[in-house]
Amino acid sequence: MKLAQMKLFITTVFLLITVVVMSQINVRGVVTDAKGEPLPGVNIQIKGAKSGTITDLNGKFGLKVDKVNDLLIFSFLGYQTKELKIDQSKPMVVILQEESLSLNEVMVVGYQDVKKRDLTGSVAKANIDDMIKAPVASFDQALAGRIAGVNVSSSEGTPGGTMNIVIRGNNSLTQENSPLYVIDGFPIEDPSIASTINSNDIESIDLLKDASATAIYGARGANGVVIISTKKGKVGAPVLGYNADFGIQRVTRKIPMMDAYEFVRLQEEIITPADMASVWGYYQTYNEKKYTREDYRNIEQFDWQDMIFQDAMQQSHNISLTGGTNDIRYNGSLSYYDQDGVVINSNFNRLHGRFGITIQHKKMRVYLATNYSKSIYSGNSPSQSSYSGMNNLFYSVWGYRPVTTPNLDIYSLVENNTDDGVDPSVDYRFNPIMSLNNEFNEKHNTYAGYNGFLEYEIQKGLKLKISGGYTSDIRNAEILNNSKTRGGMPTSTWKTNATFSNSDRKTWLNENILTYQTNIQKKHFFNGLLGMTMQESISKFYSMRTILIPNESLGMAGMGQGTPSTINSTFSDWSMISFLGRINYNYKSKYYLTGSFRADGSSKFSYQNRFGYFPSFSSAWNFTQEKFMRPVKHVLTTGKLRLSWGVTGNNRVGEYDTYSRIIIQQVAWGTGTGIYDVFHGVYPVNNSLSNIGSIISGLPNKDLKWETTAQTNAGADLTFFDDKISITVDWYNKITSDLLLRASLPLSSGFASAMKNIGKVQNNGLEFTINTVNYQDNKFKWTTNFNIAFNKNKVLELSENQQSLLTNAPFDQNFISPNYIAKVGYPIGMMYGYIYEGTYKLDEFNVSNSSHILKPGIPRYVSEANTKPGYPKYKDINNDGIVDTRDQTFIGRGDPIHFGGLTNNIEYAGFDLSVFFQWSYGSNILNANRLIFESGFSRRSHLNQYASYIDRWTFENADSDMPRVSSSPSNNVFSTRIVEDGSYLRLKTIALGYTFNNKLLNKIKLSKARVFVSGQNLHTWTKYSGFDPEVSVRNSALTPGLDFSAYPRAFSLNAGLNVTF
């Protein structure tokens, strides 16, 4: 090397001398990209000489050379370097080819578009083309597994259900962890917005992950930001497109239940022999026949799951139109989506329309768009009743008995509201078919958005953009419970009853952004923005109920004939003002520095805590631009290192949590367990029903302030072998402090919970994304995308030096002991309970007078004075001889260790095939269904059980570790017995399409046509015994992974076509 350096030095000296001596030649020209757009800042060097120049803003250059034979080297980051002989006869036109397509991808970051190679933060772009191949209702349902570090899951399989998107782990314990959605510049916090967007309208989805990217959204950026840009008009003749698909869905699995024989065998252990032989019993004498267990083999019986599941249809249609001139461009679409649920009487459908227009006039650009969507959700939730789990659908579906006693017609089970054999005072089982077929529950969500902007170039490089938007989100719900439903049956309090509710939220936004870009000597490039935004939202909610409706055949129309019952009205509003700024600097596209700052003021906090300040800094180094990297250029095509730090916030609390309120309360609100309820103020002195008193509604916290998240991110973007392989790696560390938490309070305070700023949570992790082009020629192309993310979550601090926070994810009043724990030093959302050690075995007892007495030294369950063989046995962790609440510990983890996705795309001769796998590894599921359906639940009679319970403990099966039938309270606690591995690998989507060739299409006047078949949720590899391992019916950061009566997941098979005219 030393020798080489010496040679270089000597040559340079020599050249310098000759330059002085020789006469010079003028060369002029322009450098453009492949599309003919001028490229400013291109580096031009005379080969072998030191001198050179840089193109100006119009891509033009001029320089003097010494010799006619000199070669010019044109180099520019992101473009292939070119060597050309000088041409002094005419201005040279130099076209540079883009070097790496992926690095020139435009990423939308807050308030700006940036090329990927100029990015300093961690931003990922979702591959819309791949996602759109999944036959789902909205983009969020296809997002899982697509982007590293973005965990997308649904609580259950409800049609039209909202997805839970968590970017880089949960920050907040009890508040929303969903990201901020920014749709064409309009920030929206409500995750249900996703279902109002037609995936076909989406141009791009960018996910801002690190703080340098999200800090520009300051107060609301802590959970990451999903930026959605919709399609804008394209210059050209009108292009009309039509997409349609049809599909059929079916449940992925059923839970095996006991058949009639096993069911009756179980009843023997629950019902006394005398009762078994009585008129309510299975072994009675009827029509002079004495029934025995054997009579129930192969008898006519019901499988209730078969009766409530259906093969459900699904269809979608989308028409789009785009076109225009350079001055005016337009884009519009109309779409319809309709999906029946796999559970009868559930459906989701959506009508969606949008129209946008862009007008360019000299230095001014105007964009106007309108967007409308109407979604209708039908059907009750099967899992969301938490006072009594018995009100949830699958309690009745699984629990309803497959046979009746001989004296009753088996069809009476299907024909009657309730089962005559069941005591309605302790068991709310209701004929699920009857109830589902008669329930009317429709939610109509109407969303209308109007937004636009005006952009004006004040002077070169200085632009002002004024944008505004207005959205109206109206949600109506209609519920009619007639006499054949669970909620309106003749024995219910309200009889036939109807509820109508209306919620109306209007939000407006104004943003004023000034951007400026310039450079110094074409080496130092600056751009920056300054802005101010204002947003305000006003919500109104009304609901009314009438009861004792005389004519249920009129449906909702007969509501007015009923007796007026509860009427509610709730108003709320919030507002925000923000100031923001950002500066980007780069030196020759090699070294980058970015700084941003935002100040947010929110009406949700009291005066002294109102404003939050959110700075960020980031830098990047395109190190493959350095000379010393040249030798490995053939392997490492491009490489960039990124480093960032920033602070973001979260203000997702109630509008008025800083206020104490006096309310006139007519009815108690809550689950009915009285623990988190708001008690009412009615005291009917002198039997006066109108004596309704005022109460304090809750405990305010005047000191509430912003929750803040500080995040450090280090990342690298590398491409190898001419971009055939590209790798992005990110490491991050997030610390969220002053967590906004709906914290449980000591009940002795008179309040059950209040909003507090509590403690600290840390998330750190690694994300890898690898894209490879495995093979590519003119006919055949095979690409692969693989991503994986690891996130470690840890509670660093809780309130007032609290060591742990216990939470109960409620699903039934009999199971209110805490089942989740957040403990300092451990991840949040850990499952909590006892360690199950199997059943008490016979040899652990002394037998006297034919009763079993536990041998000394063997621990018993605290409130179970008479432990019997076959009862569940838990680990006595503190060895005090009694298993009590002190012996509870971690029994499972709610969050996965890693998750990701693998997509393979193959194109060959007009065929395209996409195969997408998605997985999640390392989380557990608290399968609460088994507390009731694999336990002989409190000896409840006539309640069917899972087929797995056949293997329960009995004296004949005394080795079994499945508890015997008993009403022991030890049966009703959370333990490792019901914790299951929730890891899964899912073949999520396969899509096979064929695009007809142009010759054929020209004959029938089509410009493009593709037909396809696709399948969704084709197979899931899991050890989980429930419907599906992607489940969390009480989903929150504290209580992930609870399964109770979840809506089952569907597998679907679709076929469709895309045509463009």
Binding site: T491, I547, S603, S690, I695, P746, Q813, S863
Partner: protein
């Protein structure tokens, strides 16, 4: 420097702009009333007082859970279901018992509501002084009442005498119960002069001077027996507690506003009929007000439906029956509580039919075997049909002839009967029946008990009081029977059982007499008897308790967030 100065001015002006221009835009107040602007009128004070009373009639208290699951576990009644519910009454509870947890929660909600009212009652001195004084007195009483229920249930409990204002620093240790006793007694004593007199009210839903005095007597008696569950010798002050109990109870008697209604059943018929002391004799002193059928305002409760007596068939869904009253539609009752053999035998021994046949169902409603099943009559157990009673509401009364049924003496508790409800339509589950918190007969028995404890042998006063109760029941007076102090004490205990069963006092009486565990265990021998229905033998599980049950467990929900509180040993 110049640049820096300009920058400073610029930054400062931006900050000023933000603080001023934005503060208006960012000022959003709730659309509800806020405490700062409340408590300014008499109506607002009364409204908040109503809200404070309200807690006693809700589901978690006298409306449902308390009277069944929490206070129902005694030796006079048992949970009539073989499917045990995790609760005190089923003797299988734990610190996560929802009935206990929600009872704890509602009592402290009551304490806090009372504290808010106490702090704000004198906010506007323009409101008439006597009104403010009366509201304050009621609030002080209610707070004390909530605390007494806490002490009864848990012993030492956290004592909060001011409203909760902040979300931090809420850890609070248990205060020695003696301190709480002192405080609540002082507060009630101070409140009494400002409360209304019973003859000033036309209803019994709010606390009166007599009610407060009677409750003071109850508090003193319970305090006198505290030492049993603490496993301590009787305190020197025990006699003082009896003196105080006697003094306050006697004041109720000497007010001459109260008396006993004949027949005994009329007291409970009034409760069902939404009447207050309809005979003009103020026996009922304080009731938890419950009304309506929950069809519109949630003011109804479950008295009579869960604890009490009604039809075993539900007619609430049958159009032609749901608006009927009386025998035609006696209302549905789950009859969760059945009387034990012990209670049955007490009435038999004294030939006490007035109370025995009221408190324990003497008959079953007879239904038409064809559905829908209207009631077609009453079928009385043997010897239970009153002489000459051949029909009620035009429907026949006949005798049960099947010996095996007549031999089953574990029968439904029937003190609260839905048959007498007047509110229609009758709801399956919700009733307008008020719950009697304090009756004059209780006051009389407290005088007798306290006086007996203070005397070497029963005084004339003690005899007079117990006999007033006994003669109303139509059983022989004890005066002249020459009972010893100990015998008289036992007589009082039996009398209280017969008079006050199913009114949520028994469990606490047993605890303060130090005989809760023994009496519960003794019931086990009754279960083996042939009169104890074979269908109810499962109830043996509900009587197997340890002395841990002399206290309720501190709820896990409290323990897990209140670092200063400790669990009662055993739980």
């Amino acid at each position: 420097m110049n640049f820096i100065n300009r920058l400073k001015i610029y930054v400062v002006s931006i900050v000023i702009f933000m603080q001023t221009a934005c503060s208006g835009f960012l000022e959003k107040e709730p659309y509800d009333l806020v405490p700062e602007g409340y408590f300014n009128t008499q109506e607002e004070l009364e409204s908040f007082l109503t809200g404070t009373y309200s807690l006693i009639m809700q589901t978690q208290f006298y409306g449902n859970y308390y009277i069944l699951y929490n206070a129902g576990g005694d030796d006079l009644g048992f949970f009539q279901r073989s499917n045990a519910v995790t609760s005190i009454i089923c003797a299988n509870t734990s610190s996560s018992d929802m009935y206990i947890t929600s009872y704890w929660r509602i009592l402290y909600e009551g304490v806090n509501r009372a504290n808010v009212l106490i702090e704000n009652v004198n906010k506007n001195v323009e409101i008439k002084a006597d009104i403010r004084k009366r509201v304050l007195a009621e609030a002080l009483f209610l707070r004390s009442f909530f605390y007494f229920n806490l002490v009864q249930g848990w012993g030492d409990v956290p004592l909060r005498l001011s409203s909760t204002q902040t979300v931090t620093g809420l850890d609070i240790a248990r205060t020695d119960r003696e301190i709480i006793y002192e405080r609540i007694i002082t507060d009630i004593v101070n409140a009494i002069p400002d409360l209304k007199r019973s003859d000033e009210l036309t209803h019994t839903g709010m606390i009166t001077q007599s009610g407060a005095k009677g409750m003071l007597a109850r508090i003193y008696l319970f305090r006198a027996g505290e030492h049993y569950r603490q496993k301590l010798p009787a305190p020197e002050t025990k006699q003082i507690y009896f003196e105080e109990a006697k003094r306050w109870a006697l004041q109720v008697r000497e007010s001459n506003m109260h008396g006993l209604v004949t027949p005994y059943s009329q007291v409970f018929i009034d409760l069902s009929k939404d009447k207050y002391n309809s005979t003009g004799i103020r026996e009922s002193i304080w009731e938890a007000e419950i009304a309506g059928n929950n069809s519109i305002v949630m003011a109804a409760g479950r008295v009579g439906n869960i604890v009490g007596f009604g039809s075993a068939k539900d007619f609430s869904s049958i159009a032609e029956l749901k608006n009927l009253n009386g025998m035609a539609n006696p209302g549905y009752s789950y009859r969760f509580i059945f009387a034990t053999l012990k209670l049955y035998d007490m009435y038999e021994a004294e030939m006490d039919t007035a109370r025995g046949n009221w408190n324990i169902a003497p008959f079953e409603y007879e239904h038409d075997p064809l559905a829908p099943n209207p009631v077609i009559g009453r079928k009385y157990y043997s010897d239970k049909r009153p002489d000459g009673l051949n029909q009620v509401d035009g429907l026949p009364c006949t005798d049960e002839t099947r010996a095996y049924i007549n031999n089953r003496h574990t029968r439904s508790a029937a003190k609260f009967r839905r048959e007498y409800e007047v509110v229609t339509p009758k709801d399956k589950n919700f009733t307008p029946i008020n719950f009697p918190i304090l009756r004059y007969s209780d006051v009389l028995l407290m005088i007798a008990e306290a006086d007996n404890e203070l005397s070497a042998s029963p005084s004339d006063l003690a005899y007079a009081c117990i006999d007033e109760v006994r003669s109303r029941a139509g059983i022989s007076p004890l005066t002249g029977s020459g009972l010893s102090k100990e015998d008289f004490r036992e007589a009082i205990k039996r009398e209280r059982a017969m008079e006050l069963c199913f009114e949520t006092t028994r469990r606490w009486d047993l605890i303060r007499w130090g005989e809760f565990i023994t009496n519960m265990s003794n019931t086990l021998t009754d279960i083996d008897k042939s009169e104890w229905s074979v269908d109810h033998k499962y109830a043996s599980n509900y009587f197997k308790i340890t002395d841990t049950y002399e206290y309720y467990p501190i709820p896990i929900m409290e323990l897990s967030v209140n670092k200063s509180i400790t669990q009662t040993p055993g739980w």
